[in-house]
């Protein structure tokens, strides 16, 4: 499979089946079955599951590229989460079931255990799409060793919550749940590494959403007439949009860096920490300043529910916080840089390239 075929497939599906009304309906709780089914039938949802475990066995970079597109369309489905769950299960040799999935934990201090009786213990907060998922891929510990467990959601205690984007973000209680299957995770795969993968994925979605609001804002500025001319002709608007373009480009470049590194060497390496931290910090800043500009350009219209701008901007506000916000990643990154010391700052940044 080439990059283009996968991305083109995804783009076509979203363009056909991810209209603004679909996104609004999803916020009201209606599952976008048509969209999800098309994604599943195309094999995109299990892109990161190897052939022999029932998946599409695509390159990780292809999966990241699809998430960029999903972000562009504000797709209200757990595509990122299902990709990630499939990847996590595959790490432990567990095949992926059909249907929507999600992962737990999402926080670095995640603390789920498999007891001697084989039952799960623990609680995970802020689990995206938990109530819509059929299964959850859990990264737990058993006697101190990392372990991946596949659990059916129907057995779990779910306390519903919502992200700023109105997407499900639930607290899941695993106490006493019996996994469908479990497998040992490779050494080094812990909630910290898992959060890196999640952060890299969210960064792609953010980059896509930013590309979208740039398009939308440029188009709006060309169409909207004030004081007798399109607002695009005002220097202040031009400068705002030029600034937005810079933020969009930076977020995209940073997201690409994280994706490449994870595709190359997985999330556990020091370089993965570097590139993911850079990406989540930079994309988070771009999300904040970019969304602010897009809203300023759109004026009152962009503040309405009927205009679709908020599909992207509310997701940007939610995603910048998920799998670690800018503060958390900046601190990690700063500590890493400090450990290596001043004279290694430049060599460290240019490592690999």
């Amino acid at each position: 499979m080439s990059d283009n075929i996968i991305v083109d497939t995804a783009t076509r599906i979203f363009a056909d089946l991810c209209e603004p009304q679909t996104i609004n309906a999803a916020e009201e709780g209606r599952w976008p079955a048509e969209l999800w089914n098309a994604l599943e039938e195309s094999g995109l949802t299990l892109a990161w599951v190897p052939d022999d475990l029932g998946g599409a066995g695509a390159d990780m970079t292809d999966g990241f590229a699809v998430l960029r597109v999903a972000g562009r369309f504000a797709a209200p489905v757990p595509l990122a989460e299902t990709l990630m769950a499939g990847w996590l299960l595959a790490q432990a040799g567990i095949g992926a079931p059909p249907g929507p999935m999600t992962v737990a934990p999402v926080h670095e201090d995640g603390n789920i255990h498999v007891g001697a009786d084989g039952k799960l213990q623990g609680r995970a907060r802020h689990i995206p799409f938990a109530r819509k998922a059929k299964h959850i891929a859990v990264l737990a510990k058993k006697s101190g060793a990392p372990m991946v467990a596949l659990v059916a959601t129907e057995w779990l205690g779910i306390r519903e919550g919502a992200s700023l984007a109105g997407e499900p973000q639930d607290t899941v209680t695993f106490d006493g749940a019996i996994p469908i299957s479990t497998g040992a995770a490779p050494a080094g795969l812990d909630p910290v590494a898992l959060a890196r993968l999640g952060a890299a994925m969210r960064t792609q979605q953010m980059a896509g959403a930013l590309e979208h609001i740039l398009d939308q804002s440029v188009q709006w500025s060309l169409d909207r007439v004030q004081f007798g001319r399109p607002i695009a002709k005002f220097q202040a608007v031009q400068h705002n949009l030029a600034t937005l373009a810079g933020e969009v480009a930076a977020a995209g470049a940073a997201a690409d860096g994280a994706a490449e590194t994870i595709a190359l060497e997985g999330p556990a390496s020091e370089r993965a920490l570097l590139d993911v931290a850079v990406a989540k910090v930079r994309a988070g800043e771009a999300a904040s300043s970019g969304a602010a500009i897009a809203h300023q350009v759109h004026g009152a219209m962009g503040f309405t529910y009927e205009h679709s701008l908020h599909h992207a901007t509310r997701r940007l506000w939610a995603w910048r916080e998920e799998f670690g916000n800018e503060t958390l990643w900046a601190e990690r990154l700063g500590r890493l840089i400090a450990e290596h010391g001043a004279d290694e700052l430049w060599p460290f940044i240019t490592q690999g390239t």
């Binding site: 907060r125 009152a300 962009g302 529910y305 901007t313």
Partner: protein, 388 residues
Amino acid sequence: MAYNFHFDPVDLPPEAKELRQEVRAFLRQEIEAGTFVPDSERAPFSVAKAFARKVGAKGWIGMTWPKQYGGHERSHLERYVVIEEMLAHRAPTRAYSTADRQSGPVILRYGQQEIKEKILPRIASGELCFCIGLSEPNSGSDVFAASTRATKTDGGWLVNGRKIWTSNAHNSDYMIALLRTSPPTKENRRHGLTQFLIACKSPGITIRPIINLTGGHDFNEIFFDDVFVPDAHLIGEVDMAWKQATDELAYERSGPDRWLETITALTELVRVAGPQPGEKLAEGIGREVAHLATLRRMSASVAGMLQAGKTPAVEAAVVKDLGTNWEQALPNKVRLMAPPRGDSEPDSNDDRFEQALRQTTLIAPKLTIQGGTREVLRGIIARGLGLR
């Protein structure tokens, strides 16, 4: 010298300081009595309406107006203190605030005697709610491009067209609308607009709600179909609204509502921080408080200058530009200062910090748009500097 605007020192008179204590006591009592919860954005309108009557009974609406019209002839500084306490306590003022701040003063200054006598006392008592019909689908920031027209008819005017982004119209008794009565002239594109008082329940008015991205209903679109407005409701001179529009803005632009809209994010952060925050959090809080305290001083200074009979129009625009930019940026800064909250934290149904952060994050975009965009304000300041 370009630096030709000025903020006078602030010196609140003793009666204003006493009044502050009185307002605080009243608000504490109302909160304890359950009249309202400190969450002005989401209070039902019925709560806001009941609150308006209580505030009116206290004499805190139309405070600076003549007693003859139900006012209380108190100073701008006393009024300022009441308003900032209301906002700081997040009291549900929206059933009377527009009338108190904008509509009432316009009627007082330009309205016909009959209307002044009929309407102003009812505003002051908290009975009437107002909205402002300014923007139209094809004129947002550019209010002088309005095309909704009023055509002279027997004993009054017939109004046809559309207004949009009209806050609170669905709850209002009256609107003050800017309507086209003549085409603009070549020399003055602002010519030809006239202000009218329109009863919102008039036949021919249709109100379409516009839901905003928080899911809330504040904006409306209003359709006028041969709406009759009696002659007595004409406000000021026909075609000359542009002369009336500028003075009143100083009232509107520098008020505490231009920098207190997201304060709850900061307050709740201080609560989360506890009495001994770490270096980073302490610094972050201090930085924002420095902005807050400075904005407050500038805002109070404008109130003082109004009281002294000055017309601090540029100063008011400066306060609004600084204030709205600050309050807009605040939730994101608070977010980045907050201690991380992972799986080790307990779940809670009553997470005041999280709620405050979410609500302020969502409303932030509108703060530099409503009531004069950032671009419009900077244009006014630039004009004040002699650049245009």
